[in-house]
C-alpha cells in the first residue's frame, strides 16, 4: 500500500494545500480526507476498467 499512500500524498497535497501555513488547517484536513476517499474510488474504477480489458 506504500505506493498508493505516496500517490495520495502527492496528489492531495498539491490539490488541498495550495499555500502551506503554520499548521495543517482543519479545512485542509477535510479536503485531504475527501481527496483521499476520491482517489481510492478512482483507483477502484481504474482497476475494474483495466482488469476487464486485459482479461
Amino acid at each position: 500500500a506504500q505506493e498508493l499512500i505516496n500517490k495520495i500524498n502527492e496528489k492531495c497535497f498539491s490539490k488541498c494545500i495550495t499555500k502551506p501555513g503554520n499548521k495543517l488547517e482543519s479545512s485542509e484536513q477535510t479536503c485531504v480526507a475527501k481527496c483521499m476517499d476520491r482517489y481510492m474510488e478512482a483507483w477502484n474504477i481504474v482497476s475494474r476498467a483495466y482488469i476487464s480489458r486485459v482479461q
Binding site: K7, R38, I45
Partner: protein
C-alpha cells in the same frame, strides 16, 4: 512478478486519469467523472495498441 506489474499499471493509470478526469474534490465521484476514468483507461490501451500495430506495419513495409 505478474501481480506486481498489474498493480503498477493500475497505479500509473490512476495517476494519469486522475489528472485528466478529476477537477474538483466533491463528496463522491460523479457519473461523468466515472465515465471519464473508465474511458481514459480504455482509450489509453487503444492508443497503445494502435501505436504498436502501426510500428509493425511500418517495419513490414520497409523489409
Amino acid at each position: 512478478n505478474a501481480r506486481m506489474r498489474l498493480q503498477q499499471s493500475i497505479h500509473t493509470f490512476t495517476d494519469l486519469c486522475w489528472d485528466k478526469c478529476i477537477n474538483k474534490i466533491s463528496n463522491k465521484i460523479d457519473r461523468g467523472e466515472e465515465t471519464c476514468l473508465t474511458n481514459c483507461v480504455e482509450r489509453f490501451l487503444d492508443t497503445s495498441l494502435f501505436i504498436v500495430k502501426r510500428l509493425e506495419e511500418t517495419r513490414k513495409n520497409l523489409s
